[in-house]
Symmetry: C2
Subunit: 234 residues, 2 copies
């Protein structure tokens, strides 16, 4: 167990400590999930590598005229409030969560973050996780859906090399597709790798720069948000 | 402490367990370092985000006619032997280390990996870590130098947002610079962010596609390798 990021060799850490930590997180996540369900808010855990374009995607989502849906966000990073500030400038009620040295958000951090956000007044709360294609997948935050941003610049075989993340993904947003003409990357190969790892392969090609795919992404959000809202009022 | 990647909230894990795990890793790392020093081999811990171009960089290094220096590599990933296979096809004696679900290599994994590599017969052993801009920085592997691959596609502020990694970096390779004409990214802003985090800011702009900067990178390796070799024979 490292003193800065909390990572360690699971084989060397007593099982009871592993279990009690995850169980504590699961309790906090269940508590968050109950909050979201009661309020009819769709909570999205948005994960992906550093620089996969998570913040730019949310900026583009806020810009999209079709949006309609009310959006709030929290943004996790080891340091700086840069992403939270960017989201605020894009008109999204947002706050930054700095983890210091931890490589992921956990349910307790998200719960604390809720206190400073008008999250009950929105349709959609996006929790932008720390940029990391491994660890965030392990921590339930209380979200209803997991979305992974995967940039075309990351190459074709990431789903196979980082299966822990992609096995948890409800949707993969293939970002930065405007760069495809300049890359030796085959989208069909990426889709094939996703089909081998995701429980149900669903991918949308997006570009925050050109706006490609943003409407389709918003439709996806609205679809999932509607079923949450129906449950909340029924 | 999670059951898959071993990450946890350090605040919740008893200090004695954290310390004993890191101490165990440090002992194994010291053992590796002793091996490398005796053999006059420069060991490089090559880190960076998923898709930052670490493997492509090594392929380009092998292709470079100027190389001269004998190179071996090990390549860490959660799953697949893809990267090790790519390196072998490029003519580099290499082996893959699959971590299962762990988000980083540790000194023990590297030590085990040495048994299958002709590492005493080379000048340079590159340990390509799991793609992750957080956790690998915490684990000493016994390397003499830390090199971080940072792709221009990752944006300008990564050094500020992931300071744990960049504080440990002896060199940053700014990769994929052939894509700069297609991006809204300012190299001076990246360099400025590196200057704020690296102990001594050193950056080389490279492109595995065009070969830009590869000679300079090899010069850097040769320079560091010479001082290791001098110490081994003195």
């Amino acid at each position: 167990m490292c003193e800065t990021c909390g990572c360690g060799d699971p084989a060397l850490v007593p099982v009871e400590i592993q279990e009690s930590l995850l169980a504590g997180n699961d309790r906090a996540a269940a508590h968050n999930r109950e909050h979201f369900a009661k309020a009819g808010v769709l909570a999205v855990n948005l994960m992906g590598s550093p620089g996969s374009g998570k913040t730019a995607l949310l900026e583009a989502t806020a810009r999209a005229k079709k949006a309609g849906l009310r959006l709030a966000a929290m943004s996790g990073d080891l340091a700086t409030q840069n992403d939270g500030d960017r989201l605020k400038r894009a008109g999204i009620p947002a706050r930054s969560i700095t983890t210091g040295s931890a490589c992921h958000l956990d349910a307790e951090l998200v719960h604390k973050g809720l206190h400073d956000l008008p999250w009950r007044d929105v349709d959609l709360l996006v929790i932008e996780n720390v940029g990391n294609l491994v660890c965030p997948a392990v921590y339930d935050l209380g979200q209803q859906v997991n979305v992974v941003a995967l940039a075309v610049t990351e190459g074709e075989d990431k789903p196979l090399k980082y299966p822990v993340m992609f096995r948890k993904a409800d949707l993969v947003l293939l970002t930065k597709v405007d760069l495809l003409p300049h890359l030796d990357v085959d989208v069909a190969a990426i889709e094939n790798a996703l089909a081998q790892t995701m429980p149900a392969c669903e991918m949308i090609q997006v570009s925050a720069k050109t706006g490609q795919g943003i409407d389709e992404w918003i439709d996806w959000l609205n679809h999932h948000r509607s079923s949450i809202a129906r449950k909340a009022t029924s």
